[in-house]
Structure formats: C-alpha cells, structure tokens
Amino acid sequence: MKTIIIGGGIQGLACAYSLAKRGIGPITLLEANRIGYGASGRSGGGIREQFRNEPNIELAKRAKWLYERLTAELDYHILFYHGGYMYLNYTESQAAQAEKDVALQRRLGVPTQLITPSQAMRIVPGLNLQGVKVVQYNPRDANVHHDAVMWAYFRKLRQMNVTIKQGIRVERLEKTGGRISGVVADKHTFTAEQVIVAAGAWTRKLLNSVGVRVPTEPWRREKLVAEPVRHFLDPLVVDRRLGISFHQAIRGEVLGSAHVPLLESNMNWNATRHSLENWCRGIYELFPPLRNAAVLRQWAGTRDFTPDGSAIFGPMCEVDGLWAICGQSGTGLMLAPAIAEAIACGFEGKDPGVDWELYSPRRFELGREMWERTPTG
C-alpha cells in the first residue's frame, strides 16, 4: 500500500518504523523543514506513566515498555534512563486528585507512590517542600534524549529503504470520492492510498483541507538548559504551584521547563526573558542546590493541545485511508512508539489494543472527554 506520512517528528518517524517493520509500504515521509523541527527537537524527553485516565495509562505503559527496548531494537543508544517523576501538590484539591490518580495507576500496575514531603526530601535532598501537602512519585518513570531517539529511527529507516524527504511542505490533502488520493506539496501531487498526518501543530490545517475537523490548538512552551554537572538528581520534579519543572538529563545537563500561562494561542518561538527569570526565581526558592547553576541556553517549541489534554489519533472516519495523530498536548514523545504500533496494527486490520472511538475527535461531541491537563511536564 502506497503510504505517505506527513511530519518528520518523533511520531512520524515512529509510525514509519512500525509500518516498515511489518512490511507495509512503500512509505514516503514528508517533512516541511527538517527532522524534529517543530516540537520533537525541542522536547525535554520525559517519559511518564502517570496519567489520569485508564486508556492513557495503558498507552503510556506500552510506550515505556517499547522505549525500554528501543536501544537494542534500533541499534542506537537513545539514552533511556529510569529517573522517575515527582509531582509536588500544594492544595487540598490537588492532594485529593493525587490520591485518586495514584489509586488508579497502582490498580493498573504502575508503581506510583503517594509520599510525604520528608520522604521526598530523601529522594531529592535540598528540595524546599514548604507548603507541600503530598507528593506523587513513580521511580519507574523515565527520561530519554529526544534527538537520540529521532536519530535512531532515522538511521534505521534509511537502512529499511523508507524514503524521507525533508524541506517538502505539504499544503493540502486530496480526496477522490470519500477516499484519500494524495497530498499536494510545492504544486506537485504525491499520490497515495493511505495518508498519515503526524504534523503536530500543523495537523489541524491539513485535516481541514479535506473537511476533517479536530479541536486542537498550539501553545508555546519554553525550556532552558543549565551547564552539565556530575549526576546528583534522579527524578523530574514538577511543581504544581509554580508551574515549573526540572530534571537532570543523563549527560548531566539540568533542564528546566517554564509554564507559560495560556494567555494566547500562537506559534511564536521566541524564548522570553520573562519565562527565563520566572523559572530562575521559582527554582531559587524551590531547589537551592541549583542557585549557582549556569544557564546556557533557552528556547521555545509548540505543543498541540486538545481541550481535555488527551491525544487524538487513529483512522479519520470521514475520509477512507486517512489517519491522523495530533493534540498529544505535550505527551507526543512519551506516547509515540505506542501510538505508532496501534496505527500499524490498524493498517494490518489487527486489534490495535486501543479503542479508536476514545481517541477520535468525536469524543468531544459525545461528551467522552478524558481530562488530563496538568500544568507542566
């Protein structure tokens, strides 16, 4: 089956790999700019199983299981590391939600614990936990190097003879009758029997060109990195009051993520001084051991959000042969291998292991939202 994948981020690459591995093809992957340009290359690399809804937890479990094996499978070190994820909860309502989330996660086999501030202090010495009510901690959540993952897929796809074209910006999709027939880029039509749109924040516009509507919106998120130091910090820590997070990557760099208030929807990639100072002010109080860390670089990227914070993916029922993956709301990297696997099973007519209905844009019309929105991480 002649298949076109639009988008050369983690998700597009993972899909190409899952399909190629099953002998589906020929596959052409079209990337508007360069591999990882829009969001994947700007990611912090967090991989967590701490979600709020059962289907998302199952998906995240599967994704992590696949990531744990990806280095061997792709013959490239993706710098995977079980550092854990820690959420600091300050208010009564945050604590109540945390209790519910942890109970569900534990029932599904995710080893999240609800721990006290003094227990958290032993895991992250130096953390200022004043005002913290309760901490969610999963020591088995993980971290990966986003560029290493993309490079691993890219190398493998080259070996598998998948065509990857960079610098080809798809303008619109084309359908004939109720079926997808191709995509138009640079006034040239690429014909295809199957099209997967995995173009992040650009997905909505592409789907609109064949009348498929998805309720997604792009938001900017800013990150920064501080000078690498000897390993001293295991988990990624998310502060729910300040809306900031930090962790130490496997190479020793300390990465920070600043929660930009969702005041405007845009695709502006200018990192701001406001956000940099905001993170530093927060970290100065929250984690004094980092007071003397040297900030090297800051940048911004775009995240495609759905109203409920859960992803949209699967076959788009309005057009035969059209598949989409969008609205991961900041969880694109952590779910990519599992979503790719589900899509590939769908291509083969096998059980994808997920309920397409739950991840279709129709869930918003049916009132079946899966609320996931968290401030950061």
């Binding site: 360069r34 591999i35 990882g36 290359g41 560029d147 290493a148 490079w151 890219f154 190398r155 080259r158 960079q166 990195v225 501080a226 000078e227 690498p228 190479r251 760099e253 990192a271 001084r273 940099l276 100072e277 530093c280 002010r281 970290i283 100065y284 980092l290 007071r291 003397n292 860390a293 040297a294 900030v295 090297l296 670089r297 800051q298 940048w299």
Partner: protein, 92 residues
Amino acid sequence: MSQLILCHCWDVTTSEIEQVIADGAPDIEWIKRHTGISTGSCQGRWCLQQTLAWLRKHYPEYAWEQLPTARPPLYPVRVWQLAGAPLEDEQP
C-alpha cells in the same frame, strides 16, 4: 581514523563526526544534535569554529553554511543572577 577532539565539553572527536556524516547527517545542525557539539559550556563559541574549519577542509561539498540557531543568553548566567537575588557569601 583521526582522533582529534573538536569539542572539549563533550569530547567529540573527528571520527564521531565522520560517523554521523556517514549515517546520513545532512548538515551541521544534525552534527550538533547527534554528537553534542555546540551544546556544552561554550555553546559553540569555540567548537563550532573548529568543526567548521575541519569540515571545510575534509568535506568541502558539505552543507556547513547553515549554522545552528544561536540562543540566549549570550554567555552562561547563574540562576541566582537571573532570579535577581542579592550577592551572598554562599554564592561564589
């Protein structure tokens, strides 16, 4: 295979760069992302020049003109400085 170190922050050698080019890295941005060049303490101020000079000599046809985006801050700045904290004894 040569073993010159071009990036002192991440100990990136010329043979590693040869390897990523052989694996299909199309430009300097990819070399940066897949070797770590230009992402250490010097942020490319030192190593990028060395890498470009080396590439120009050994890979004259290579797309080395498209440089990675320069990001703020201009020089490394400490968290306490950006937080606007006063200079205290404990902050060297």
